[in-house]
């Protein structure tokens, strides 16, 4: 097996393994509004400040 094939095989294994890990553990998919309590930490206007409520 030459170097090219080793690199291709490693890259494919990394892509499948890495994406499986990220998917399984939900990496970077936490909701951003759980990092800081919107209801407690909002300086004012809170959830309704975006004006999207019809």
């Amino acid at each position: 097996m030459n170097l090219f094939r080793i690199v291709i095989l490693a890259w494919a294994a990394f892509a499948v393994g890495g994406s499986s890990y990220l998917s399984y553990y939900g990496v970077l998919r936490e909701s951003r509004d759980t990092f800081q309590s919107v209801r407690v930490g909002s300086p004012g206007g809170g959830y309704n400040s975006g004006g999207r409520i019809k």
Partner: protein, 423 residues
């Protein structure tokens, strides 16, 4: 009258030049390469006519060279220069007549650095004849079958002879025009040749340039710049390996995407008919693996309305993990005969618990355009992020297509000069 079998050389009966006799007993014409005289090989080499000012065509091969093709030794006995002019374009090629004492006569064609080997067919394809008129009348691309292979129409061409030299088993003429209808399979071409006196069918295959030149003891005088219609695709083994690896890895990532989307997540709380006004009611759920996401989902049956929910999650120690609020709005209707929707009836909140244990989630209706909307609460442990596997599957499968595109490009280049049009 036939030639003496032991004859190996003659002197041109017009100019006296020495000419080798190489072509076997069925040669009827010998064209002197020095003076252009056409000699009748069957009648004491008397001069039939003389050609002059013939442009010598390009070729790495010369009369008298011997080489092996498909396991048979052939000798080059004649050379024809050919030309086709069509719609302002000119094609030039060189045909060499070959002779084998055991396999008879054949052709070696040199065109733009490509080498083609052609033999007349003794077994006929189906159909046994395709005329130019039939091609012009056909609504569909004409096809033929021979020895299990399917041949599709490629082009019709009319070649004109511009140069003759050597021995031939017929009488060549400078200025002769021959029209041929060509059909092509994956690796061979059938040509229905409409000659002056008879119809012939030829089959051509591509020969490797360097090996063929080497067996005749010569070197290529030019290198191919483009793909010949008969040229086989030569993908290297590394590309084939990469294509297989990317394909199977892409399928694996796709399987992981499906698994993370449908199977891995576990439902730990399902509560329908929640009274969102009852703010003191908490719903408990167990978190066993804090390294994985937990997902809280609020589902409603809102229609053309909105509601804002407060979500409060407390950990095993009773301390708040987070508090947040989510607006849910869903609108639908139709305009201009088309229906539309906007928003969603659900919202999901994903968080990563700090520790294992029993958690509590409380739901509160903060504001709403309707009183007491129908509300359900779901909590999932081991929530996933399928999008990563989807990205990987897409990347790997696109890579497979990219690596495979070389063959498709080659196929396109082989057929791009076909003169068939479906219109």
């Amino acid at each position: 009258m036939t030639r003496a079998a032991e004859l190996t050389a003659i002197n041109c009966t017009n100019c006296g030049a020495g000419l080798d006799v190489l072509g076997g007993g069925r040669v009827i014409t010998h064209v002197c390469g020095y003076c252009g005289s056409v000699l009748d090989a069957q009648h004491d080499y008397k001069v039939l006519k003389q050609f002059s000012d013939m442009p010598r065509p390009e070729s790495p091969f010369r009369i008298g060279m011997k080489g092996e093709i498909q396991g048979v030794e052939y000798t080059i006995i004649g050379t024809l220069g050919k030309r086709e002019d069509y719609r302002g374009q000119t094609w030039l090629w060189t045909d060499h007549q070959l002779f084998s004492p055991t396999h008879g006569y054949a052709w070696l064609t040199v065109e733009d650095g490509h080498i083609i080997f052609t033999r007349k067919m003794r077994l006929l394809p189906r159909p046994s004849w395709i005329s130019l008129q039939k091609v012009e009348r056909s609504d569909y691309r004409p096809s033929a079958f021979f020895e299990g292979d399917n041949y599709s129409y490629y082009a019709t061409s009319t070649g004109k002879t511009t140069f003759v030299e050597g021995e031939f088993n017929w009488l060549p003429e400078v200025g002769d025009q021959v029209t041929a209808v060509a059909l092509m399979s994956d690796d061979a071409m059938l040509r229905y040749v409409d000659g002056k006196t008879e119809h012939e069918i030829e089959r051509s295959v591509y020969l490797p340039l360097y090996e063929t030149c080497a067996t005749f003891g010569t070197k290529p005088n030019r290198h191919p710049k483009d793909v010949h219609p008969l040229q086989p695709f030569q993908g290297n083994s590394n590309s084939a390996f990469a294509r297989k690896v990317f394909f199977w890895a892409g399928l694996a990532a796709l399987a992981m995407w499906i698994a993370t989307w449908f199977f891995i997540e576990q439902t730990v709380v399902v509560e329908h008919a929640i009274d969102p006004g009852a703010t003191d009611v908490g719903y408990r759920f167990q978190v066993d693996d804090p390294s994985r996401l937990t997902r809280v989902q609020v589902r409603t049956q809102l229609s053309n309305n909105w509601a804002v929910y407060g979500v409060d999650v407390a950990g095993p120690d009773g301390q708040s993990v987070f508090q947040t609020a989510r607006e849910i709005s869903y609108y639908s209707g139709s305009s201009g005969g088309e229906s539309w929707t906007e928003g969603s009836r659900n919202t999901s909140i994903r968080f990563r618990p700090a520790q294992a244990g029993e958690y509590t989630v409380k739901l509160e209706l903060l504001e709403s355009s309707v009183p007491n909307p129908q509300t359900s609460l779901y909590v999932y442990s081991g929530a996933t992020a399928p999008i990563w596997s989807f990205f990987a599957a897409a990347l790997l499968l696109i890579s497979t297509l990219f690596v495979s595109s070389g063959k498709a490009k080659h196929y396109y280049r082989r057929w791009r000069n076909s003169d068939w049009s479906d219109e």
